[in-house]
């Protein structure tokens, strides 16, 4: 009943091609945006911003980036951490080496450089596929790790790289709320872009390649172009996410921040959120990032006197079983689960 689209007629092409064809979805999205931009700032504490929301949003952005590559174009990548590192270090070097550069520009140029590196490491994808490609991108991860640890020029000969103050067009983003809004704006903007991208010719080409690359080639899609574009766009998103992680979230970082565990973390977000879904990337990021922290805090919230170590072990156990449970319940991830939920709400309260 809640999701019944009866009576919502599409009378024009643009209505037919709308991103959210159902009224309820549009209303829901507007509500979520209002909550994110207005509601959250009214109630959230500093900890909510800096401990949960900002890192979650940045990881969601990285997950969207990886989902474009893995979920839409079908190229499995384990190099996300490396591409994030490229974004972070490129933006950092732009800031310290180019005088008076706008930080926003530096962040996006960092993404751009990451895109170039992504294309470079995407080249093998023309010859190797599936698991083998995953291993090849893993090499990218290790190479980039090595590069930033070993070549001191990248961190300006300092033990670690330090983010500059976030001053953009004379506006200083220093308080947690300002930083949250800054990240939220970028993530919303880039998520919208990604959503439109995957509905465009480019996105359709990606999906054709994913579903069967030989067939795609036969109908005239150039594989080289399409795959490398997917690597470029994906790495751009990851690079921007890496720069935000470094500049907005951490403030100072070492290469270990973007090690292979980060790649796995983002890949798990994409898998459990739903391959080939922008919404799934965001839900997956929320699940993988926030649920462990939530579980970790449950004992303390209810005043349960258990030791820190036990709480940490419980966190791992419960979180692990949740992953297994959700993957058994719905192997296609949260995005599919949400689809099913919508179907149920459509019939509710009178299911067959």
């Amino acid at each position: 009943m809640l999701y019944r689209e009866t009576g919502q007629y599409k009378t024009s092409y643009s209505a037919d091609q709308a991103m959210f064809p159902i009224l309820q979805d549009r209303v829901g999205l507007v509500l979520i945006l209002i909550v994110a931009f207005v509601g959250v700032p009214m109630v959230a504490t500093q900890y909510t911003y800096t401990g949960i929301l900002i890192p979650f949003l940045i990881l969601a952005l990285a997950a969207i980036g990886l989902n474009l590559l893995t979920g839409y174009c079908g190229q499995v990548s384990l190099g996300t951490g490396g591409f994030m590192a490229v974004g972070a270090y490129a933006a950092y070097n732009l800031v310290i080496r180019v005088p008076d550069i706008n930080i926003l520009l530096a962040i996006f140029l960092g993404g751009g450089i990451s895109a170039l590196v992504g294309v470079l490491f995407g080249l093998p994808s023309l010859r190797i596929k599936g698991f083998y490609l995953a291993v090849a991108t893993l090499a990218a991860q290790f190479f980039l790790d090595w590069l930033f640890i070993r070549i001191k020029w990248f961190s300006n000969y300092a033990p670690n790289a330090n983010a500059p103050d976030l001053v953009i067009f004379g506006v200083s983003f220093s308080s947690p709320l300002e930083r949250y809004l800054f990240v939220l704006t970028i993530v919303c903007f880039m998520a919208l872009l990604a959503k439109n991208l995957v509905r465009s010719r480019v996105g359709r080409a990606w999906m054709a390649v994913r579903d069967m690359d030989i067939a795609a080639e036969i109908i005239g899609i150039r594989l080289l172009h399409t795959k490398l574009l997917a690597f470029a766009v994906s790495s751009f998103y990851c690079g921007v996410a890496g720069a935000l992680w470094a500049f907005v979230h951490l403030g100072a970082w070492e290469p270990l921040t973007f090690d292979v565990n980060r790649s796995f973390q983002v890949l798990f977000m994409v898998i459990i959120g739903g391959l080939g879904s922008i919404l799934g990337s965001i839900l997956g990021a929320a699940f993988i990032f926030a649920i462990p922290i939530l579980i970790n805090q449950v004992p303390a919230t209810f005043g349960m006197p258990i030791s820190t170590a036990l709480a940490a072990h419980l966190e791992g156990m419960i979180f692990g079983s949740l992953i297994i449970f959700f993957l058994i319940a719905e192997p296609h991830g949260f995005a599919r689960l949400w689809q099913i939920g919508k179907e149920k709400l459509r019939l509710w309260p009178f299911p067959h």
Partner: protein, 440 residues
């Protein structure tokens, strides 16, 4: 299907419950909140646990024996970081605002977390105690106003080890033409001493090889094959956690004499040598303090905390190297709070006041005796120019059962290190637009 319905229900419930769980509970008034970033799980847990226990026990002792500090009860809360920087930052954000006056001071016990918090602490006005770790240049308190690398930095450690091998060789001029290898944890932590050792190798004319070991350090075969080929005259070990014991085992495997291996003070605890068994015999490391339950504070600990069943660990573990280091970390935080109370009154201190306490911390020998740390802690006097307070250490050797001191107290050569610290700190200040200066 039932499963799907359950999954939907769970997801729905979680999205409603999540915002509730993150809301903060109420706080009592006359209490000092002391946060703890610990790692009792993960690759570095064997080393993280004794440190966390020692620190926790010291505050438990203060509460049980003295009723807190000057009548202000300590509220102590741990947060598990697993040595991961992002979890460390999350824990910091979770704990920094708790208690009536916020967190007193943070000791992350991780160089990565220290770096991230170094950027955050000034804005939140919370001091960072990085006892024997962190950035070497944070000794300069005019730039790093909120960092306190008490008892010395890695540059001090490298310098002290150089002094020791020079003395063993019979003078610094005897080092010419020799070969030194540094086996280090491939992270900012492990890389810290390289600058000092490179400088020394140029000045004294010995050959220096830096050999990185990838985190967490269980795979070192190639490094030790290189050592087997090069046969350096000494190996310095800059490891942490499982890397240390692995290095010693590999040294046994390539038959490199343990008597030529020198670890930093983070590579000289029981979990580092015990896994290597008899092979570890003869291995040296730096020591910031004595190993073993020898100080009066240990007896007090057993009497007031462990006999009441409130200890964080096992009674037999009291006096382990890292336990003692946790005790000292706790001592420094407590004494900084006490020093601050001397100026601001006996009430819960804010982070800013505790920072003043750290900067004016003066632990004399008499005071250390009063506190029951006799034989455990060295006198420390902190000033704005010197946030370490003391730059000395001794060398200890593992005899298969326990650590024994084999040297006097070395003092790091500050005439040599000061200019390097200044240069590095100035560069940081310039990059971050910090106006260097002392605040009183």
């Amino acid at each position: 299907m039932q499963f799907t319905r359950l999954a939907l229900g769970l997801a729905g419930a979680a999205s409603i419950a999540a915002p509730l769980a993150f809301s903060a509970p109420a706080q009592a008034q006359n209490e000092q909140f002391v946060p703890a970033l610990v790692y009792r799980t993960g690759a570095y847990a064997p080393n993280g646990i004794p440190f966390a226990n020692g620190r926790k026990d010291y505050f438990a002792l203060l509460n049980a024996r003295d009723g807190g500090i000057n009548g202000v009860k300590i509220v102590y809360e741990e947060c598990e970081t697993g040595y991961a920087t992002d979890r460390g930052v999350e824990c910091y954000e979770r704990l920094k605002g708790k208690g009536p006056t916020g967190a007193a001071a943070f000791s992350p016990l991780s160089t990565g977390i220290t770096f991230a918090l170094t950027e955050k602490a000034p804005a939140d006005k919370i001091p960072l105690l990085t006892m024997g770790y962190g950035r070497a240049d944070s000794v300069d308190g005019s730039v790093f106003q909120w960092n306190f690398p008490l008892t010395g930095s890695y540059w001090d450690a490298a310098n002290i080890l150089m002094q020791h091998i020079a003395r063993q060789a019979g003078g610094a001029d005897k080092l010419k033409g020799k070969r030194l290898a540094l086996v280090y944890h491939d992270s900012p932590y492990g890389k810290e001493p390289i600058a000092v050792l490179e400088e020394a190798s140029k000045r004294l004319g010995f050959k220096f090889d830096a050999m990185p070991v990838t985190h967490p350090g269980v795979e070192q075969k190639s490094t030790w094959l290189q050592i087997r080929q090069n046969r350096p005259d000494w190996v310095f070990l800059w490891g942490w956690g499982v890397m240390n014991s692995t290095s010693i085992k590999e040294a046994v495997a390539v038959n490199y004499p343990r008597e030529k291996m020198f670890g930093v003070w983070w590579s000289g605890a029981e979990p580092d040598v015990l896994p290597a068994g008899d092979g570890a015999k003869g291995y040296y490391s730096l020591a910031l303090h004595v190993a073993g339950a020898v100080a009066p504070v240990h007896q007090e600990m057993i009497k007031h905390v462990y006999d009441k069943g409130q200890g964080a660990g096992k009674k037999e573990e009291i006096g382990e190297v890292l336990y003692n280091r946790g005790l000292m970390d706790g001592l420094f935080v407590a004494e900084a709070i006490r020093t601050a109370m001397g100026k601001f009154g006996n009430k819960p201190m804010t982070g800013e006041q505790v920072r003043w306490g750290f900067e004016n911390l003066n632990l004399t020998n008499e005071r250390i005796k009063q506190l029951g740390y006799e034989g455990l802690a060295q006198p420390v006097k902190v000033s704005c120019q010197d946030h370490a307070g003391v730059h000395s250490a001794r060398v200890q050797q593992w005899d298969g059962k326990k650590w024994n001191f084999v040297s006097d107290v070395y003092r790091a050569n500050q005439d040599l290190l000061r200019p390097m610290i200044k240069e590095s700190a100035d560069k940081y200040a310039k990059e971050k637009n910090i106006k260097a200066g002392c605040v009183s």
